[in-house]
Symmetry: C2
Subunit: 309 residues, 2 copies
DNA sequence: GAAGATGATGCTCACATCGAGCACAAGGGA
DNA sequence: TCCCTTGTGCTCGATGTGAGCATCATCTTC
């Protein structure tokens, strides 16, 4: 019997509800299965490009159009779908990241889920989470350290050493970009629900979709630095503090208000509209809009992240 | 008739011959076709993961083993292989980047080709090349500027504006990371041989393989910053100037010797072996070796690139 | 053996960037 | 009015970066 191959496309759509990052999932009520990312097969004849295929599928599955889209990663492990071992075709999936403004209503069966509920250790806005501390400890205490019994990761590091980088104990050492590394470490340690973990490291998603979620969050955080992606989440005009809240939500880190302000203004990313927003509580805030021209003036028109609250 | 799908894997193997970056190509002598990157189908039953599939293929096609491997991008446009329009299966290719130390002998039919011969404008070690200047000029003079007739890229920019970022005229503004952007700009302008160009912008490769080459070079340059990938190209021990030559070769830019030295030593990336190399001509150079432990000490154990010669 | 060439190495200086904090401005509510 | 809240401007020191001068240790040449 000749095995079959299928090319899947998988969409991670991220949006923002206030300062809560969300992503679109599909439920299968009553099945007891975890939620999954919207995904479907490539239409070999119809879909001109992979990106267009994703856009088509998003419209079909969720009933919305998506603006910014970029390719994330292609997942093709033979055992990524357990059914493949039982005669199902092997599914290679190309994952895409898309950004959506606001949280528009989705087709029934689909909903926006809070992103950090599935990656709870990634939200370090109120300080590096207890979970992250536990993860560090679980590593060191797992007896899987640098000794001869230790399992060794792709880089040839012991788990304990990898934990020291991924889940640093020293305050201020938290690296918000190592999202995928952290998830994979938890997975290998058997702490993630997908790998048999009973600990409270967040509810699982179907198949390897939580890995895709981690990839996407890492990519998005990295992208902040050198592309003006934040504005995909914001309205036409906004206050600098709203902008800051969005960056903080994505980066999962608190920022220093005055420095953030300095950075954004110096970079020429935004220009004042002249209007003010009185709904802030204290002194009215000046309104700004994004300046598309920055892209021709600066090499990295993103928001490099000034640490500290 | 139901159309068929094929999953291809494509390997971009980069190595270094002295200070000349090379990559592995396969020739089809007598066919008149341009050289191509080693690529092959996924073995649906045999290949456990995509990465292992690439390793298997590299061994089969080139007769060598490869150390560092990472996924680059997945190419799936319907028209990427012109044969698809004539009944051939649609081929979606996952491209991988691999790094090889030295230039080991390859299987007959394969050879190492100088990377910059196919992307000549990317080697700015002797100053930003005349080609890059021409490219800038070709854009501005193409009548495809910001006017109503202008074609518009993915970001919504006119070609002229994109040229200003990709091929900057101001000295010191050259951004060595925008490799892919530059190639795509030349492609869209019809200057690349693949898009009908007669200008001397380097010989083409098969299909979209030059795009893959550009992706890979861009990724490699980016990776230098935050991962110690340079050492994949170096012997066990080396002098700091040899290290610098390797970084320069990849980045395509000349560096300031003393600052490079300061950076590498301060970063703790290397440690002195105590030995010296007398073959340099002048004062003997101290020999160094890579310190694998940096990965646990520094967040970004790479070589950020200090400009200027 | 001395002079000069060549490349390695150490150091300084000006300047930009960044983290952190003080102080004040401009509004609202008690 | 006082006080609380948020926005905004500015300063200061620590650190990083681009650029250049000076010296050192070897080889080559005269």
């Amino acid at each position: 019997m000749r095995s079959a191959l299928e090319l899947g496309l998988c969409a991670l759509l991220v949006s923002l509800d206030g300062d809560v990052p969300m992503f679109a999932v599909l439920d299968e009520p009553g099945s007891g299965r975890p939620p999954r990312l919207p995904s479907d097969r490539l239409d070999i004849d119809g879909d001109e490009t992979l990106e267009l295929a994703v856009r088509r599928q998003v419209t079909a599955h969720l009933g919305i159009d998506v603006g910014y889209v970029e390719q994330l990663y292609t997942f093709g492990d033979r055992d990524r779908d357990p059914r493949t071992a039982h005669g199902w075709p092997r599914v290679v999936s190309v994952a895409y990241l898309g950004l959506v403004r606001g949280t528009p209503t989705l087709t029934p069966g689909a909903r926006w889920a809070p992103l950090y509920s599935h990656l709870p250790w990634e939200d370090a806005r109120e300080g590096v989470s207890v979970l992250a501390m536990q993860a560090h400890g679980a590593c060191a205490g797992s007896g899987l350290g640098a000794g001869p019994r230790s399992r060794v990761g792709a880089d040839g590091h012991g788990l304990e050493e990898r934990a020291a980088i991924s889940f640093p104990m020293a305050p201020g050492k938290w690296d918000e970009y190592r999202v995928l590394e952290r998830y994979e470490l938890l997975y290998e340690l058997g702490l993630a629900a997908e790998s048999g973990g009973a600990g409270d490291y967040g509810p699982p998603l179907a198949l390897d979709h939580r890995r895709i979620l981690a990839s996407g969050l890492g990519r998005l955080r990295g992208k902040l630095r050198y592309r003006p992606v934040v504005f995909e989440f914001l309205e036409e005009t906004f206050t600098l503090f709203q902008l800051q809240r969005v960056v903080e939500a994505i980066a999962g880190v608190r920022l220093h208000k005055q420095n953030f302000r300095r950075l954004v203004e110096r970079g020429g990313l935004v220009e004042a509209t002249g209007g003010v927003d009185r709904s802030t509580g204290g002194r009215p805030a000046a309104c700004f809009r994004f300046r598309p021209e920055v892209r021709f003036e600066r090499q990295a028109p993103g928001i490099s992240i000034p640490r500290g609250g």
